[in-house]
């Protein structure tokens, strides 16, 4: 059985002036032990999907199940398997200490301090919060507050965890700490984690699969590696010693291959699309002929951000009827 199954989910928010389709016929499943990224631009419907699963937003139609439990008919059973850090909310009490927050949120999930103590301590160690155990949350940095909120969600020891924008406002170091902790969760605790984020690096680093949402619709649901392969190109970046190679450039421009070039004080930088290995060899020969010394050559790998931007742009164009 899937850990999470969403079928044909639809949610519309209506006001007097307009009707906004926040989620439009969304379907996907998440298997136990998976770490899935939920990506989408602002207002794409990510948070509405998560809140619908948690039962704090009532969908118009569609079915949701967590371990077979439905949020409208069996909310308590569903919630006993689910925890979440929600975007745009504090999620925790700033006047309580780190430890008091963890104990409180585990407590309202039915986990006593006596039962959870060693795991709570483990979380503090994993998230480098041990020294701040007894500090009031209001006195901590934004990054630490976010880590406490995540600890509070994890302290519930549920099999499914939603992290909505967990790295928002975190510095680079804390973001890396968080990534390691998330990987550890999936590897060592077999938790299922759905991470919604704008931070493509985080998703690419920690998730096996990405679900891309735009305008309330799922526009891609693939393994990260497959998504990257979709946009793989054979564009190479070559750095040549010496900034002035007019003859080389004029010959390059006569080649059929698309080339872009730029220079700095002492180097010529070329970006060339080389569809076959033969094209690459031909280019190397040309450089040799002109006595241009090749310093570095790199194949440009697509990253998730580029994939995301491409897919979302295509979807927008499709919606606007330009495709």
């Amino acid at each position: 059985m899937s850990m999470l199954e969403i079928k044909n989910l639809r949610k519309t928010f209506a006001s007097k002036k307009q009707k906004v389709v926040a989620v439009d016929d969304v379907s996907f499943t998440v298997q136990a032990g998976e770490m899935v990224g939920l990506l989408g631009p602002n207002g794409a419907g990510k948070t509405t999907i998560i809140k619908s699963v948690l039962g704090i937003v009532e969908p118009d139609s569609g079915t949701i199940s967590v371990k077979g439990f439905d949020p409208s008919r069996q909310p308590k059973q569903l919630l006993s398997h689910t925890a979440a850090v929600l975007e745009g909310s504090r999620n925790i009490y700033w006047r309580l200490s780190v430890w008091e927050n963890i104990c409180f949120f585990a407590g309202i999930h039915g986990i006593s301090v006596a039962v959870g103590k060693s795991y709570f301590e483990h979380l503090l160690t994993t998230f480098n919060l041990k020294e701040k155990r007894d500090s009031e949350v209001r006195l901590l940095s934004q990054g630490m507050k976010q880590k406490v909120a995540i600890c509070c969600a994890l302290a519930k020891q549920t099999s499914l965890v939603f992290l909505d924008e967990p790295t928002l406002g975190l510095d680079v170091e804390t973001s890396y700490e968080l990534r390691d902790a998330l990987k550890d969760l999936v590897q060592n605790e077999q938790r299922t984690v759905v991470v919604s984020s704008h931070d493509m690096d985080v998703i690419q680093d920690v998730c096996q699969r990405a679900i891309i949402v735009s305008n309330g619709r799922v526009i891609a649901d693939e393994k990260i590696s497959d998504l990257l392969a979709l946009f793989e190109s054979r564009t190479f970046k070559l750095v040549v010693d010496g900034a002035h190679h007019p003859e080389l450039l004029s010959e390059l421009n006569q080649m059929v291959l698309p080339v872009s070039s730029s220079t700095n004080d002492r180097q010529l930088i070329l970006k060339v699309n080389l569809p076959t290995a033969r094209d690459l060899y031909a280019l190397i020969d040309l450089l040799r002929e002109h006595g241009a010394e090749l310093e570095t050559i790199n194949q440009e790998a697509p990253d998730l951000e580029k994939v995301f931007v491409n897919l979302v742009r295509k979807e927008r164009e499709r919606c606007n009827g330009t495709l």
Partner: protein, 259 residues
């Protein structure tokens, strides 16, 4: 069952910690209540004792004031706390507890009520000592009457809390309602018999009989007790229905987490 007990303990612990952290606020609240009471007391004594709150002027004032303090405390445990939780962004976390939001709310009210009784008890003792007006504090009679009187207040609190989930910024309305409680308590039942169906009015009337005249609970008219219980239950039920209805709308409109 064990899980519910753990959750109740967590709610009580949170409230006690908050009280400790906001100790200055707690104490200054008590002192303010006492100062306001003394101003009222001295004012009324100076006028010469116009019949306030059931005709037994100064003793009546103490009883009514005590019930008013308990009422605004119970009311704020609901309406204000819900509003506050929504404002700071912890309400949704309470909603995603498998224990159920209604249970958590009930635990919150129980712990709030316990703390209110303690603070009101302290206030009562200080009021009696400084005014020299000693009242009968027969707990077997007083506590059930107080709890029954507060049922209606809880009903209003639930209704207000629910409305706050949907309409958000209605604090001004909240504040005004605290003073409506004064009117409920001050209405004399002999002149306005219909007022017995209002929240707090019958409760205040019966509490004054018990605390001023030493009447025991079982010596009170059964019809009055029935009116007190039934109006309390009705207001509580109405409040709960309003709250559930509002929470449903908030979920439909996605408003639970927004302020």
């Amino acid at each position: 069952m064990q899980r519910y007990f753990v959750a109740m303990r967590a709610m009580i612990a949170r409230n006690l910690i908050n009280m400790r952290r906001y100790i200055f606020n707690t104490i200054s609240g008590l002192v303010t209540m006492y100062i306001v009471f003394m101003l009222l007391f001295l004012g009324i004594r100076g006028i010469g004792g116009a019949a306030l709150a059931g005709g037994t002027t100064l003793e009546g004032l103490i009883v009514s004031y005590l019930l008013w303090v308990l009422s605004i405390s119970a009311y704020s445990d609901l309406a204000w706390d819900l509003n506050q939780e929504a404002q700071v962004g912890t309400l949704e976390q309470l909603y995603i507890s498998p224990i159920g939001f209604n249970w958590l709310n009930a635990f919150n009210l129980i712990s709030g009520l316990g703390l209110s009784f303690v603070f009101s008890g302290v206030l009562l003792v200080v009021m009696m000592l400084t005014t020299g007006k000693y009242l009968s504090v027969d707990l077997i009679s007083v506590l059930p009457l107080m709890i029954a009187s507060l049922l209606g207040v809880y009903g209003i609190g639930f209704a207000m809390g629910g409305l706050a989930l949907v309409f958000k910024r209605i604090q001004a309305f909240f504040q005004i309602f605290q003073f409506v409680f004064v009117a409920f308590l001050a209405l004399p039942l002999d002149r306005f018999p219909w007022a017995q169906f209002l929240p707090l009015t019958m409760g205040g009337h019966l509490l004054r009989q018990v605390m001023i005249h030493g009447t025991r609970l079982w010596e009170l008219p059964a019809t009055s007790l029935a009116v007190l219980a039934l109006t309390g239950i009705c207001y509580l039920a109405l409040g709960l229905i309003t709250f559930e209805w509002s929470a449903r709308i908030a979920k439909r409109k996605g408003l639970l987490g927004h302020y």
